[in-house]
Amino acid sequence: MLDDFLIRAGLAGLAVVLATGPLGCFVVWRRMAYFGDATAHAAILGVALSLGFGAPVYLGTLGVAVAMGWLVAHLAGRGEAVDTALGVLAHGALAVGLVAASFVPGLRSNLEAWLFGDILMVQRADLIWVWGGATLVLAVLVWRWQGMVTATVNEELAMAAGINPARERLILTLAMAIIVAVAIRIVGALLVSALLVIPAASARSFARSPERMALLSTLIGAVSVACGLSASLFADTPAGPSIIAAAAAIFLFMLPFRRPMA
Protein backbone atom coordinates (compact mmCIF):
# COMPACT_ATOMS: atom_id res chain seq x y z
CA MET A 1 0.00 0.00 0.00
CA LEU A 2 2.87 2.34 0.84
CA ASP A 3 4.01 1.94 -2.73
CA ASP A 4 1.30 4.29 -3.79
CA PHE A 5 3.01 7.67 -4.15
CA LEU A 6 -0.15 9.56 -3.23
CA ILE A 7 -0.55 7.73 0.09
CA ARG A 8 3.11 8.31 0.87
CA ALA A 9 2.65 12.01 0.11
CA GLY A 10 -0.43 12.24 2.32
CA LEU A 11 1.29 10.46 5.21
CA ALA A 12 4.34 12.70 4.93
CA GLY A 13 2.20 15.86 4.86
CA LEU A 14 0.19 14.67 7.84
CA ALA A 15 3.34 14.05 9.87
CA VAL A 16 4.63 17.56 9.17
CA VAL A 17 1.39 19.34 10.13
CA LEU A 18 1.02 17.28 13.32
CA ALA A 19 4.19 19.02 14.52
CA THR A 20 3.87 22.39 12.80
CA GLY A 21 0.32 22.88 14.09
CA PRO A 22 1.24 23.30 17.78
CA LEU A 23 4.79 24.51 17.06
CA GLY A 24 3.40 27.21 14.77
CA CYS A 25 1.28 28.52 17.66
CA PHE A 26 4.48 29.33 19.57
CA VAL A 27 5.85 31.00 16.43
CA VAL A 28 2.77 33.25 16.35
CA TRP A 29 2.65 33.85 20.12
CA ARG A 30 6.35 34.69 20.36
CA ARG A 31 6.57 36.55 17.03
CA MET A 32 9.19 34.14 15.72
CA ALA A 33 8.11 34.08 12.05
CA TYR A 34 11.46 35.34 10.75
CA PHE A 35 13.20 32.87 12.98
CA GLY A 36 11.58 30.07 10.99
CA ASP A 37 12.74 31.69 7.75
CA ALA A 38 16.34 31.92 8.95
CA THR A 39 16.40 28.29 10.05
CA ALA A 40 14.78 27.05 6.84
CA HIS A 41 17.04 29.07 4.56
CA ALA A 42 20.06 27.78 6.40
CA ALA A 43 18.81 24.29 5.67
CA ILE A 44 19.60 24.80 1.94
CA LEU A 45 23.21 25.33 2.93
CA GLY A 46 22.93 22.09 4.89
CA VAL A 47 21.64 20.25 1.83
CA ALA A 48 24.48 21.57 -0.34
CA LEU A 49 27.13 20.67 2.25
CA SER A 50 25.69 17.17 2.78
CA LEU A 51 25.51 16.35 -0.92
CA GLY A 52 28.90 17.95 -1.58
CA PHE A 53 30.62 15.87 1.10
CA GLY A 54 28.52 12.76 0.58
CA ALA A 55 26.95 12.93 4.05
CA PRO A 56 23.36 11.89 4.83
CA VAL A 57 21.14 14.81 3.78
CA TYR A 58 18.79 14.76 6.77
CA LEU A 59 21.65 14.80 9.28
CA GLY A 60 23.51 17.57 7.47
CA THR A 61 20.39 19.68 7.15
CA LEU A 62 19.55 19.14 10.80
CA GLY A 63 23.06 20.08 11.86
CA VAL A 64 23.09 23.38 9.95
CA ALA A 65 19.51 24.23 11.02
CA VAL A 66 20.39 23.62 14.68
CA ALA A 67 23.54 25.73 14.33
CA MET A 68 21.52 28.56 12.80
CA GLY A 69 18.86 28.29 15.50
CA TRP A 70 21.51 28.40 18.20
CA LEU A 71 23.21 31.41 16.57
CA VAL A 72 19.96 33.38 16.31
CA ALA A 73 18.93 32.53 19.87
CA HIS A 74 22.40 33.57 21.06
CA LEU A 75 22.20 36.91 19.23
CA ALA A 76 18.70 37.53 20.59
CA GLY A 77 19.92 36.72 24.09
CA ARG A 78 22.71 39.27 23.74
CA GLY A 79 20.14 41.94 22.90
CA GLU A 80 21.17 42.49 19.29
CA ALA A 81 18.51 44.05 17.04
CA VAL A 82 16.90 40.73 16.32
CA ASP A 83 14.94 41.53 13.16
CA THR A 84 18.02 43.01 11.50
CA ALA A 85 20.24 40.11 12.58
CA LEU A 86 17.64 37.62 11.33
CA GLY A 87 17.41 39.41 7.99
CA VAL A 88 21.16 39.21 7.52
CA LEU A 89 21.36 35.58 8.63
CA ALA A 90 18.28 34.36 6.73
CA HIS A 91 19.19 35.88 3.40
CA GLY A 92 22.90 35.34 3.84
CA ALA A 93 22.35 31.65 4.56
CA LEU A 94 20.07 31.24 1.54
CA ALA A 95 22.54 33.00 -0.76
CA VAL A 96 25.54 31.05 0.50
CA GLY A 97 23.49 27.86 0.25
CA LEU A 98 22.60 28.58 -3.38
CA VAL A 99 26.22 29.36 -4.23
CA ALA A 100 27.34 26.16 -2.52
CA ALA A 101 24.62 24.20 -4.38
CA SER A 102 26.03 25.37 -7.71
CA PHE A 103 29.24 23.43 -6.95
CA VAL A 104 27.36 20.17 -6.37
CA PRO A 105 26.64 18.59 -9.77
CA GLY A 106 23.61 16.53 -8.72
CA LEU A 107 22.04 19.41 -6.83
CA ARG A 108 22.36 22.10 -9.46
CA SER A 109 19.81 20.52 -11.79
CA ASN A 110 17.58 19.41 -8.94
CA LEU A 111 17.62 22.57 -6.82
CA GLU A 112 13.94 23.30 -7.26
CA ALA A 113 12.99 20.13 -5.37
CA TRP A 114 14.81 21.45 -2.28
CA LEU A 115 13.56 25.02 -2.57
CA PHE A 116 9.91 24.13 -3.15
CA GLY A 117 9.76 20.54 -1.98
CA ASP A 118 8.64 17.47 -3.87
CA ILE A 119 6.13 15.66 -1.71
CA LEU A 120 5.06 13.36 -4.58
CA MET A 121 8.59 11.93 -4.75
CA VAL A 122 8.69 11.01 -1.05
CA GLN A 123 10.26 7.56 -0.47
CA ARG A 124 9.87 5.12 2.43
CA ALA A 125 13.10 6.34 3.99
CA ASP A 126 11.78 9.91 3.88
CA LEU A 127 8.61 8.76 5.61
CA ILE A 128 10.63 7.26 8.45
CA TRP A 129 12.58 10.49 8.88
CA VAL A 130 9.58 12.77 8.75
CA TRP A 131 7.43 10.63 11.09
CA GLY A 132 10.37 10.20 13.47
CA GLY A 133 11.11 13.93 13.58
CA ALA A 134 7.48 14.99 13.84
CA THR A 135 6.70 12.47 16.58
CA LEU A 136 9.74 13.61 18.54
CA VAL A 137 8.76 17.29 18.26
CA LEU A 138 5.13 16.59 19.16
CA ALA A 139 6.13 14.46 22.14
CA VAL A 140 8.44 17.17 23.47
CA LEU A 141 5.73 19.82 23.04
CA VAL A 142 3.15 17.71 24.88
CA TRP A 143 5.65 16.87 27.62
CA ARG A 144 6.67 20.48 28.27
CA TRP A 145 3.42 22.18 27.23
CA GLN A 146 2.45 23.79 30.56
CA GLY A 147 5.91 25.19 31.17
CA MET A 148 6.34 26.45 27.61
CA VAL A 149 2.96 28.20 27.59
CA THR A 150 3.69 29.77 30.98
CA ALA A 151 7.11 31.00 29.82
CA THR A 152 5.48 32.41 26.67
CA VAL A 153 2.82 34.27 28.67
CA ASN A 154 5.28 35.80 31.15
CA GLU A 155 8.87 34.84 31.95
CA GLU A 156 8.77 36.25 35.49
CA LEU A 157 5.69 34.17 36.35
CA ALA A 158 7.41 31.14 34.84
CA MET A 159 10.59 31.70 36.90
CA ALA A 160 8.53 32.06 40.07
CA ALA A 161 7.10 28.61 39.31
CA GLY A 162 10.57 27.13 38.91
CA ILE A 163 10.57 27.12 35.10
CA ASN A 164 13.71 28.22 33.27
CA PRO A 165 12.52 30.41 30.35
CA ALA A 166 15.89 30.22 28.57
CA ARG A 167 15.69 26.41 28.53
CA GLU A 168 12.15 26.48 27.10
CA ARG A 169 13.35 28.90 24.39
CA LEU A 170 16.23 26.59 23.52
CA ILE A 171 13.90 23.60 23.26
CA LEU A 172 11.61 25.56 20.91
CA THR A 173 14.64 26.49 18.79
CA LEU A 174 15.72 22.86 18.54
CA ALA A 175 12.17 21.70 17.76
CA MET A 176 11.99 24.20 14.91
CA ALA A 177 15.34 23.06 13.52
CA ILE A 178 14.18 19.43 13.60
CA ILE A 179 10.88 20.08 11.86
CA VAL A 180 12.56 22.27 9.23
CA ALA A 181 15.10 19.56 8.51
CA VAL A 182 12.52 16.80 8.05
CA ALA A 183 9.94 18.94 6.22
CA ILE A 184 12.28 20.43 3.62
CA ARG A 185 11.68 17.45 1.27
CA ILE A 186 7.95 18.09 1.47
CA VAL A 187 7.31 21.83 1.22
CA GLY A 188 10.83 23.04 0.53
CA ALA A 189 13.14 25.51 2.23
CA LEU A 190 11.37 28.61 0.97
CA LEU A 191 7.93 27.63 2.20
CA VAL A 192 8.45 25.45 5.28
CA SER A 193 8.14 28.41 7.64
CA ALA A 194 4.83 29.33 5.96
CA LEU A 195 3.45 26.04 7.26
CA LEU A 196 4.38 27.19 10.76
CA VAL A 197 2.80 30.62 10.52
CA ILE A 198 -0.30 30.46 8.30
CA PRO A 199 -2.40 27.68 9.91
CA ALA A 200 -1.69 29.05 13.41
CA ALA A 201 -2.62 32.58 12.29
CA SER A 202 -5.88 31.24 10.82
CA ALA A 203 -6.68 29.41 14.05
CA ARG A 204 -6.07 32.35 16.37
CA SER A 205 -9.46 34.06 16.10
CA PHE A 206 -11.43 30.87 16.48
CA ALA A 207 -9.82 29.51 19.63
CA ARG A 208 -10.47 30.36 23.24
CA SER A 209 -7.49 28.57 24.75
CA PRO A 210 -3.91 27.75 23.69
CA GLU A 211 -4.80 24.06 23.35
CA ARG A 212 -7.78 24.68 21.07
CA MET A 213 -5.62 26.94 18.91
CA ALA A 214 -3.00 24.18 18.58
CA LEU A 215 -5.65 21.59 17.60
CA LEU A 216 -7.37 23.90 15.13
CA SER A 217 -4.02 24.91 13.64
CA THR A 218 -3.16 21.23 13.09
CA LEU A 219 -6.55 20.59 11.52
CA ILE A 220 -6.18 23.56 9.15
CA GLY A 221 -2.71 22.28 8.23
CA ALA A 222 -4.10 18.82 7.44
CA VAL A 223 -6.88 20.27 5.25
CA SER A 224 -4.27 22.39 3.46
CA VAL A 225 -2.18 19.29 2.72
CA ALA A 226 -5.24 17.48 1.34
CA CYS A 227 -6.24 20.45 -0.83
CA GLY A 228 -2.69 21.05 -2.07
CA LEU A 229 -2.17 17.39 -2.97
CA SER A 230 -5.51 17.29 -4.81
CA ALA A 231 -4.63 20.40 -6.79
CA SER A 232 -1.28 18.87 -7.64
CA LEU A 233 -2.90 15.61 -8.74
CA PHE A 234 -5.72 17.05 -10.83
CA ALA A 235 -4.25 20.33 -12.07
CA ASP A 236 -0.60 19.27 -12.13
CA THR A 237 0.45 22.20 -9.93
CA PRO A 238 3.67 21.97 -7.84
CA ALA A 239 2.63 20.17 -4.64
CA GLY A 240 4.57 22.14 -1.96
CA PRO A 241 3.48 25.61 -3.12
CA SER A 242 -0.06 24.29 -3.63
CA ILE A 243 -0.24 23.23 0.04
CA ILE A 244 0.87 26.69 1.20
CA ALA A 245 -1.49 28.38 -1.28
CA ALA A 246 -4.34 26.28 0.13
CA ALA A 247 -3.41 27.32 3.67
CA ALA A 248 -3.35 30.97 2.64
CA ALA A 249 -6.73 30.55 0.91
CA ILE A 250 -8.18 29.05 4.10
CA PHE A 251 -6.79 32.00 6.07
CA LEU A 252 -8.50 34.48 3.71
CA PHE A 253 -11.71 32.46 3.65
CA MET A 254 -11.90 32.46 7.45
CA LEU A 255 -11.22 36.20 7.83
CA PRO A 256 -14.87 37.36 7.56
CA PHE A 257 -15.96 34.84 10.21
CA ARG A 258 -13.64 36.16 12.92
CA ARG A 259 -15.55 37.24 15.97
CA PRO A 260 -14.43 39.48 18.77
CA MET A 261 -14.15 37.50 21.97
CA ALA A 262 -15.39 38.64 25.32
Binding site: R31, Q146, T152, A160, S209, P210
Partner: protein, 274 residues
Protein backbone atom coordinates in the same frame (compact mmCIF):
# COMPACT_ATOMS: atom_id res chain seq x y z
CA UNK B 1 -4.93 34.58 62.73
CA UNK B 2 -2.22 34.46 65.34
CA UNK B 3 -2.10 36.58 68.45
CA UNK B 4 -1.37 40.12 67.35
CA UNK B 5 1.16 40.97 70.02
CA UNK B 6 3.33 38.00 69.15
CA UNK B 7 3.49 38.70 65.43
CA UNK B 8 6.38 41.11 65.40
CA UNK B 9 8.47 38.84 67.56
CA UNK B 10 8.17 35.87 65.27
CA UNK B 11 11.10 34.79 63.20
CA UNK B 12 11.19 36.33 59.71
CA UNK B 13 9.70 34.39 56.79
CA UNK B 14 12.49 35.64 54.64
CA UNK B 15 15.53 37.72 55.39
CA UNK B 16 18.14 39.32 53.16
CA UNK B 17 21.49 40.33 54.61
CA UNK B 18 24.06 42.52 52.89
CA UNK B 19 22.56 41.93 49.46
CA UNK B 20 24.78 43.37 46.71
CA UNK B 21 23.78 42.94 43.06
CA UNK B 22 25.62 44.01 39.93
CA UNK B 23 23.60 43.67 36.75
CA UNK B 24 25.62 42.68 33.65
CA UNK B 25 26.88 45.75 31.81
CA UNK B 26 26.07 48.20 34.60
CA UNK B 27 28.87 50.36 35.97
CA UNK B 28 27.85 50.48 39.60
CA UNK B 29 26.01 48.03 41.77
CA UNK B 30 22.25 48.33 41.47
CA UNK B 31 21.95 47.15 45.08
CA UNK B 32 24.56 47.72 47.76
CA UNK B 33 24.47 45.94 51.11
CA UNK B 34 20.68 45.79 51.47
CA UNK B 35 19.15 44.26 54.59
CA UNK B 36 15.50 43.31 54.69
CA UNK B 37 13.33 41.07 56.84
CA UNK B 38 9.68 40.18 56.44
CA UNK B 39 7.83 38.71 59.38
CA UNK B 40 4.53 36.83 59.27
CA UNK B 41 1.44 38.98 58.56
CA UNK B 42 3.57 42.09 58.07
CA UNK B 43 3.11 44.48 55.13
CA UNK B 44 6.51 45.75 54.04
CA UNK B 45 6.69 48.36 51.29
CA UNK B 46 9.73 49.35 49.28
CA UNK B 47 9.63 52.88 47.91
CA UNK B 48 12.27 54.67 45.89
CA UNK B 49 12.84 56.60 42.68
CA UNK B 50 13.07 54.94 39.25
CA UNK B 51 16.29 52.98 38.90
CA UNK B 52 16.74 52.68 42.66
CA UNK B 53 16.80 48.87 42.43
CA UNK B 54 13.32 48.11 43.75
CA UNK B 55 12.50 45.42 41.21
CA UNK B 56 16.03 44.00 41.38
CA UNK B 57 15.61 43.69 45.15
CA UNK B 58 12.35 41.79 44.68
CA UNK B 59 13.84 39.56 42.00
CA UNK B 60 16.94 38.74 43.99
CA UNK B 61 14.83 37.89 47.05
CA UNK B 62 12.84 35.52 44.82
CA UNK B 63 16.09 34.06 43.48
CA UNK B 64 15.55 35.26 39.89
CA UNK B 65 18.70 37.38 40.06
CA UNK B 66 21.94 36.14 41.55
CA UNK B 67 23.47 38.38 44.18
CA UNK B 68 27.25 38.92 44.06
CA UNK B 69 27.41 39.00 47.84
CA UNK B 70 25.08 38.74 50.77
CA UNK B 71 22.50 36.07 51.43
CA UNK B 72 18.79 35.46 51.39
CA UNK B 73 17.47 33.13 54.05
CA UNK B 74 14.01 31.63 53.58
CA UNK B 75 11.98 29.75 56.10
CA UNK B 76 11.94 26.11 54.97
CA UNK B 77 9.06 25.32 52.62
CA UNK B 78 8.05 28.98 52.31
CA UNK B 79 5.14 29.40 49.87
CA UNK B 80 5.32 32.65 47.88
CA UNK B 81 2.64 34.19 45.67
CA UNK B 82 4.13 36.60 43.13
CA UNK B 83 2.66 39.36 40.99
CA UNK B 84 5.42 40.64 38.70
CA UNK B 85 5.72 44.12 37.29
CA UNK B 86 4.01 45.00 34.00
CA UNK B 87 2.53 41.66 33.06
CA UNK B 88 1.05 41.93 29.60
CA UNK B 89 -0.70 38.99 27.99
CA UNK B 90 -0.57 39.45 24.26
CA UNK B 91 -3.85 39.21 22.43
CA UNK B 92 -2.16 36.67 20.11
CA UNK B 93 -2.44 34.05 22.85
CA UNK B 94 -6.03 32.94 23.33
CA UNK B 95 -6.33 32.54 27.08
CA UNK B 96 -9.34 32.50 29.34
CA UNK B 97 -9.02 33.61 32.96
CA UNK B 98 -9.77 30.03 34.03
CA UNK B 99 -6.97 28.62 31.85
CA UNK B 100 -4.55 31.30 33.09
CA UNK B 101 -5.16 30.28 36.70
CA UNK B 102 -4.03 26.74 35.80
CA UNK B 103 -0.62 27.88 34.53
CA UNK B 104 1.65 26.11 35.09
CA UNK B 105 -0.06 23.89 37.69
CA UNK B 106 -3.65 22.76 37.26
CA UNK B 107 -6.07 23.90 39.93
CA UNK B 108 -9.63 22.70 40.53
CA UNK B 109 -12.62 24.73 39.37
CA UNK B 110 -13.61 25.20 43.01
CA UNK B 111 -10.19 26.60 43.98
CA UNK B 112 -10.17 28.89 40.94
CA UNK B 113 -13.65 30.20 41.74
CA UNK B 114 -12.74 30.74 45.40
CA UNK B 115 -9.56 32.67 44.51
CA UNK B 116 -11.44 34.89 42.06
CA UNK B 117 -14.21 35.51 44.57
CA UNK B 118 -11.62 36.40 47.21
CA UNK B 119 -10.28 39.27 45.09
CA UNK B 120 -13.68 40.47 43.90
CA UNK B 121 -13.30 39.05 40.39
CA UNK B 122 -15.98 36.36 40.56
CA UNK B 123 -17.52 35.18 37.31
CA UNK B 124 -14.59 36.19 35.11
CA UNK B 125 -13.55 32.57 34.37
CA UNK B 126 -14.58 32.46 30.72
CA UNK B 127 -13.33 35.96 29.82
CA UNK B 128 -10.28 36.37 27.58
CA UNK B 129 -7.30 37.76 29.54
CA UNK B 130 -6.41 40.27 26.82
CA UNK B 131 -9.89 41.80 27.02
CA UNK B 132 -9.88 42.50 30.77
CA UNK B 133 -9.65 46.02 32.12
CA UNK B 134 -6.47 46.96 34.00
CA UNK B 135 -8.19 46.62 37.36
CA UNK B 136 -9.73 43.24 36.52
CA UNK B 137 -6.42 41.88 35.29
CA UNK B 138 -4.54 42.97 38.43
CA UNK B 139 -7.18 41.18 40.50
CA UNK B 140 -6.82 38.04 38.38
CA UNK B 141 -3.03 38.16 38.87
CA UNK B 142 -3.59 38.51 42.60
CA UNK B 143 -6.04 35.59 42.55
CA UNK B 144 -3.41 33.47 40.77
CA UNK B 145 -0.82 34.45 43.39
CA UNK B 146 -3.20 33.38 46.17
CA UNK B 147 -3.86 29.93 44.70
CA UNK B 148 -1.11 28.02 46.49
CA UNK B 149 -2.13 29.45 49.87
CA UNK B 150 1.02 31.59 50.17
CA UNK B 151 2.64 32.70 53.43
CA UNK B 152 4.17 35.65 51.58
CA UNK B 153 2.76 37.76 48.76
CA UNK B 154 5.30 39.62 46.63
CA UNK B 155 3.75 42.43 44.58
CA UNK B 156 5.92 44.49 42.22
CA UNK B 157 4.08 47.72 41.41
CA UNK B 158 0.73 45.96 41.43
CA UNK B 159 -1.31 49.10 40.74
CA UNK B 160 0.39 50.20 37.55
CA UNK B 161 -2.21 51.34 35.05
CA UNK B 162 -4.99 51.71 37.64
CA UNK B 163 -6.80 54.99 38.27
CA UNK B 164 -6.81 56.59 41.72
CA UNK B 165 -10.00 54.90 43.04
CA UNK B 166 -8.72 51.62 41.62
CA UNK B 167 -5.41 52.06 43.47
CA UNK B 168 -7.13 52.80 46.79
CA UNK B 169 -9.47 49.81 46.33
CA UNK B 170 -6.54 47.51 45.47
CA UNK B 171 -4.57 48.37 48.62
CA UNK B 172 -7.71 47.99 50.71
CA UNK B 173 -8.09 44.52 49.21
CA UNK B 174 -4.49 43.66 50.12
CA UNK B 175 -5.07 44.77 53.72
CA UNK B 176 -8.28 42.71 53.90
CA UNK B 177 -6.53 39.62 52.61
CA UNK B 178 -3.70 40.09 55.10
CA UNK B 179 -6.17 40.47 57.96
CA UNK B 180 -8.13 37.36 56.95
CA UNK B 181 -5.31 35.01 56.03
CA UNK B 182 -2.35 36.35 57.99
CA UNK B 183 -0.24 36.45 54.81
CA UNK B 184 2.83 38.67 54.84
CA UNK B 185 3.18 41.15 51.97
CA UNK B 186 6.25 42.61 50.29
CA UNK B 187 5.24 45.42 47.96
CA UNK B 188 7.07 47.73 45.62
CA UNK B 189 5.20 50.89 44.85
CA UNK B 190 5.16 54.33 43.31
CA UNK B 191 1.93 55.32 45.02
CA UNK B 192 3.72 56.86 48.00
CA UNK B 193 0.83 58.21 50.03
CA UNK B 194 -1.68 55.43 49.59
CA UNK B 195 0.82 52.64 49.97
CA UNK B 196 2.47 54.04 53.06
CA UNK B 197 -0.92 54.29 54.66
CA UNK B 198 -1.38 50.57 54.13
CA UNK B 199 2.08 49.51 55.32
CA UNK B 200 3.52 48.39 58.63
CA UNK B 201 7.09 48.89 57.61
CA UNK B 202 8.50 51.09 54.85
CA UNK B 203 11.90 50.74 53.25
CA UNK B 204 13.19 53.73 51.37
CA UNK B 205 15.57 52.42 48.73
CA UNK B 206 18.05 54.16 46.51
CA UNK B 207 20.60 51.50 45.65
CA UNK B 208 21.01 51.06 49.39
CA UNK B 209 18.50 51.36 52.22
CA UNK B 210 18.30 55.12 52.92
CA UNK B 211 16.01 54.72 55.88
CA UNK B 212 13.34 52.37 57.11
CA UNK B 213 10.73 52.04 59.84
CA UNK B 214 7.06 52.81 60.34
CA UNK B 215 5.41 54.99 57.68
CA UNK B 216 5.33 57.93 60.11
CA UNK B 217 8.97 57.58 61.04
CA UNK B 218 10.12 57.19 57.46
CA UNK B 219 8.11 60.12 56.20
CA UNK B 220 9.74 62.31 58.88
CA UNK B 221 13.24 61.09 58.02
CA UNK B 222 15.45 63.63 56.23
CA UNK B 223 16.63 60.91 53.82
CA UNK B 224 13.07 60.24 52.71
CA UNK B 225 12.27 63.92 52.31
CA UNK B 226 15.44 64.41 50.30
CA UNK B 227 14.29 61.72 47.88
CA UNK B 228 10.65 62.62 47.55
CA UNK B 229 10.45 66.25 48.70
CA UNK B 230 9.30 67.73 52.00
CA UNK B 231 5.69 67.92 50.80
CA UNK B 232 5.38 64.17 50.90
CA UNK B 233 5.80 64.14 54.67
CA UNK B 234 3.23 66.80 55.34
CA UNK B 235 0.62 65.16 53.15
CA UNK B 236 1.12 61.85 54.87
CA UNK B 237 0.03 63.34 58.19
CA UNK B 238 -3.47 63.62 56.77
CA UNK B 239 -3.56 59.88 56.28
CA UNK B 240 -2.23 58.79 59.63
CA UNK B 241 -2.31 55.02 59.64
CA UNK B 242 -4.03 52.95 62.30
CA UNK B 243 -1.78 50.08 63.13
CA UNK B 244 -3.58 46.87 63.81
CA UNK B 245 -0.63 45.31 65.50
CA UNK B 246 2.28 46.49 67.56
CA UNK B 247 5.91 46.42 66.58
CA UNK B 248 8.76 45.89 68.92
CA UNK B 249 10.55 49.01 70.07
CA UNK B 250 13.32 48.81 67.53
CA UNK B 251 10.86 49.10 64.68
CA UNK B 252 8.95 52.07 66.05
CA UNK B 253 11.61 54.56 65.15
CA UNK B 254 13.23 54.94 61.81
CA UNK B 255 16.63 53.29 61.87
CA UNK B 256 19.07 55.10 59.74
CA UNK B 257 21.42 52.98 57.82
CA UNK B 258 24.94 54.25 58.27
CA UNK B 259 26.81 51.19 57.14
CA UNK B 260 28.06 52.99 54.08
CA UNK B 261 29.53 56.01 55.81
CA UNK B 262 27.91 58.68 53.71
CA UNK B 263 29.08 61.66 55.72
CA UNK B 264 26.98 64.78 55.96
CA UNK B 265 26.00 64.81 52.29
CA UNK B 266 23.71 61.80 52.22
CA UNK B 267 23.84 59.75 49.08
CA UNK B 268 20.10 59.96 48.66
CA UNK B 269 20.34 63.70 48.20
CA UNK B 270 22.72 63.31 45.33
CA UNK B 271 20.05 61.33 43.49
CA UNK B 272 17.11 63.36 44.73
CA UNK B 273 14.03 63.69 42.52
CA UNK B 274 15.21 61.19 39.97
Amino acid sequence: MADKASLANRAPLIEARGLTVHLPGAERAILQGVNLAIRPAEIVTVVGPNGSGKSTLVRSILGHVTAQSGEVERRAGLRIGYVPQRVHVDDRIPMTVRRFLSLPRSVSDADAAAALARVGAEGLQSRQIARLSGGQFQRVLLARALLNDPQLLVLDEPTQGLDQPGIVAFYRLIEDIRRETGVAVLMVSHDLLVVMRASDHVICLNGHVCCHGTPQAVSAAPEYQALFGADSAETLALYRHDHDHAHDGALLNARHDHEHDHGPQHECEAHGHA
